[in-house]
Symmetry: C3
């Protein structure tokens, strides 16, 4: 009996590895190994999603370039490349610390600048998380580029892009998302729902775009003295449409990637994102068809983006049917919003204020209205508070910043340069030298 | 002894967690945790692959736009954006239920419409699976766009795109793939091999394209009365080539993603997909070089796609060397097929019928011929049956549908509109206003 | 007691599954299952990364097309498509075996040709690994295309592309990386640090590009007899900029994917890759601003690529702050290098020699200088040895090969063909038939 017992014990011990050799697995070591594989999957998903969000930079660049004139293409590509490049360095040095560092005041973080929270022998999760966050910061930054297209001094734009990535975006971000690493920002502690950033990213970009467009004023020739509005046509609709496809793709990183975890919850977010985009495209096409007599491509492309912005806040907490409704409203809303801003002579060449500012606000409200767990007056109130807080923080701050840039180094190019085109005057180049340009090219 | 025994037991119990605290892992809880991590990896792969397949929409749009005239670019982008958008909603409402719902008749499913199989507290796999399937449905739909380019009324195209996504594609899909969720379609129960859809997706799109091209008739000026064929040149080979690169990339989601499982089997599928595409490009280039005296870009680009379509059915069950042979045949076949359809005056501006219909059939046959486990007369017979069943279902149904659209709201634009270009007449826009257009632009 | 003991044993046995039913998990079976899930994650990451690197083919094509003239676009797209297609087949047949096969001599492998190391019932890892390696080989190959643009015979280019993929690249690759499957190449056994291929891929491509540009000579009209240098403008800066965004995206597969393992280490590589690219863009912009008076788009785009090439060797063993320094130096270096090669009349239309050759060398040196574990004279010596060995192997071999091609079938087109443009003369096509071309189009 004793012998049998010992033998048995040995077998058991070997099987569960309690005192077996170094490599023998135990339930506990297995549990740790399982957690590690899941962690690897989380890294993988977060960083693949960051790739998709990074690619949105190309999408925004193409949409802006496509919707504007050939004589400003180089300038637009330079702005879009440099806001990401300078933004990356600024977010590394300052922004990430303000947004996710430990916070004494509760209003912004004060640690983790220059990625100092990372030690080579420590946990590299902060690096994966930074990578995902920097492409978000850059999205907020690049939204503004479109609204300020075709008339902004390049050096002024560079200063702006550092400011939003280092300061304006991270401060609001810390209110709504900062708690991922520390005690929690005041908005998220109230229960503010903005899963992937309808407000945090898109409205922030949209309200900064509004400030920029107002400080700059409209492009020459856009609004005639008799009150009529002259459409300034985009020079390459192929670029614009490709840009929208790329943005739709990138949003599959933007929304589901915001889990920063590889789990089952990403499926719902994928489906909601896709359905809202489709509904936004359909709604904008139908509304433009009714209003203008024909299904208009610019509005339809912006309707797609409007649907995507709209579902960004609620992508994880609304049902697929609600996602369609949210997208339909966003797609219709963007058409009316674009027309309204044109009416009050706010010249936004690509519709960025409407797509990101207005539809970002709608999406944030909708995340409360269509909450699968039910909605209450308190939920709606907090959503409205978040929407308002973003506007009240971003718009005045950005407005003052643009005014300061304008009064010091100058924000707007000269009328002569604007007519010539910024490619020649700001960059000494021309984007399409092998083609004959039409009279529209050098029109003001 | 007793004491030792109890101590031992305690150690063992702790180690295997049989009656330890809540969090103590056991072999069983570990097994469940492992399965869950693998499930997470499956979600991740299926959804990342869906991203890649989604991006094929941009690829198809660019290929079609590049191979046609500048005056129809907006129309092409609108068609490609809207067939995905309307298709997404149609597949959510109807198509997915027909294809994968429980089936009483064995001919199509009758449950799961409006994603009603999904409950917020249930398993979200149906959402991940839907996301992967909707991008497949959209691929079938968008193939047709190219064959009908430059002369189709936009409203007629919208109706078509809903019909194929909601009805034509899902019904055949249920025969060949429906069993993923229910008892199995009749074709798959016979052993039909079409791993990622040479027939289910590509031939379905190709035969619908043939029906559309026949009902529409050729573009004005394509076939002269003296029997000569006038080439109508694509306006932007850069777009077309970029589109092919994007499609090649997307196919790495299309074929390997069809596992919907993150396991080792995807490696073979990747390699086969890549080698067949490369072989298709080489074969088409060589054949075009022999036949036309120069390596022709349009044929070479289509040869790449032909190789990809060809390997789609057999990507998981043929060896890499066979993939090269399949691709070589597809690449040569597509050149002869394009010329043959031109000869019988079926005007297919991008070669969609040849690439997807003809090479889809070849690929489906090849999946039987080169089966790694060996081939038999029965296997070949079932493959031919599947190829035939697809043609017999899709072509007549699509033909009747296009005829009905033609007789009611009208499928083809007026000759005047065709000459002016659909961008102006259907959408009130122009794709490249800053450039001087050549006389080719407004040619019929 | 006995009964209790047996009952207990039964419980334990069940729990650990020692002699329970087939499916009952044990610590050991769990450990194996965990390893398998991790293996699946490794496959997934390696193959998704291969997708990203594949997409770099589109990026290189767009950069080259954008920086050259419209009359050569078809030729450029054909070259970029075919170097990948022919390279894939060549690397399958020969290259992979030379690079990773078992080696008797220690200078190159001699097994694994035609993927013969893969058996259908064996481990498919060799397939996943091949897929990742073939896109690397293709990157080295396609780099050369840009330096030889606008004047190379298509058939000569095809022969070159087979030679580099089958022979030149794999042989050096086996010295630095071959040990992944066998005993180790001589360079890696010395401790050579080139994690993702600043030297192995980029300098190899760059030095072959130098050989090609020298054998070809400059484009007609590039260098006047009075010594002045005429800029030949790129025809589509939108394509070039999109190409750079795609390359940046693809590099997130190139560098982190080189782990071929889904683990935490990819986070640091992502961050370093991103920061170096951003720094490279900024540095090149600033230097071009200082030197030319305006922030120049071509230099800035190349500066981005320079930063990416620079961080490729050291992406896994330097700190983020060092990545910024490496990128800054690379971005500045590329401007001076491009100007220097122009001064000595080496006509490189896209700057490939400077971006990939020179900055590849810099990056390899920097991987030693900024090594997180500290640097020594020996480390620096080995890095310099690797840089030198690559030049001494690649440049003479490629030079002789290009000379042989030139003397036999001819490497350069006739002056008439060069003025007409290679699209017409080599491919019988025209890339933009709907647009009026400017006088620059048919300029020599």
């Amino acid at each position: 009996m004793k012998i049998i017992y010992l033998t048995m014990t040995t077998i058991l011990m070997t099987a569960v590895g309690v005192w077996a050799g170094d490599d023998a697995p135990t339930a506990l070591s297995n549990k740790e190994a399982i957690d590690l594989v899941q962690t690897h999957a989380n890294y993988l998903w977060t960083l693949v999603a960051a790739c998709l969000v990074f690619f949105m930079q190309a999408g925004f660049a193409l949409v802006e370039a496509g919707f504007t004139r050939a004589k400003n293409l180089i300038n637009i590509m330079m702005k879009n490349l440099m806001d990401f490049s300078m933004g990356s360095i600024a977010y590394w040095a300052i922004g990430f610390g303000l947004m996710f560092g430990a916070s004494a005041s509760g209003w912004f973080g004060t640690t983790g600048f220059f990625l100092s929270d990372y030690a080579p022998d420590g946990d590299p999760w902060v690096l994966a998380f930074w990578m995902f966050q920097v492409v978000f910061a850059a999205t907020a930054a690049t939204i503004v580029s479109g609204a300020m297209a075709e008339r902004t001094r390049f050096v002024g734009y560079l200063i702006y892009s550092v400011m939003i990535s280092a300061f304006i975006y991270p401060v609001f971000g810390s209110w709504a998302w900062g708690g991922l690493f520390n005690g929690g920002g005041w908005l998220e502690n109230l229960g503010f729902i903005d899963f992937a950033g309808s407000t945090v990213v898109h409205s922030t970009g949209g309200w900064a775009a509004l400030a920029g467009a107002l400080v700059l004023g409209p492009r020459l020739g856009k609004y005639a003295k008799d009150g009529s509005i002259r459409p300034i046509l985009g020079h390459n609709i192929g670029f614009a449409a490709l840009g929208v496809f790329i943005l739709w793709l990138g949003w599959f990183g933007f929304n589901p990637g915001s889990t920063t975890t590889a789990d089952k919850s990403i499926a719902l977010i994928f489906v909601n994102t896709n359905l809202a985009a489709a509904a936004g495209a359909i709604a904008a096409m139908v509304v433009s068809w009714i209003k203008f007599g024909k299904p208009e491509v610019g509005m339809t492309l912006n309707g797609t983006l409007a649907g995507l912005v709209g579902i960004t806040a609620g992508c994880a907490n609304v049902a697929p049917g609600s996602a369609i409704v949210i997208g339909l409203v966003a797609g219709a809303l963007v058409v009316f919003s674009v027309m309204a801003f044109d009416k009050i002579k706010v010249d936004d060449p690509v519709g960025a204020i409407s797509v990101h500012g207005v539809c970002g606000a709608w999406g944030t409200l909708a995340a409360g209205l269509f909450n699968m767990g039910g909605t209450t007056g308190k939920i709606i109130g907090v959503q409205l508070l978040g929407i308002g807080a973003d506007f009240l923080w971003v718009f005045p701050t950005a407005f003052i910043m643009f005014k300061l840039i304008d009064k010091t180094i100058g924000l707007r190019v000269t009328p002569e340069d604007e007519i010539t085109g910024l490619d020649v005057t700001e960059h000494g180049g021309t984007a399409y030298p092998d083609f004959e340009v039409s009279s529209a090219y050098s029109q003001s």
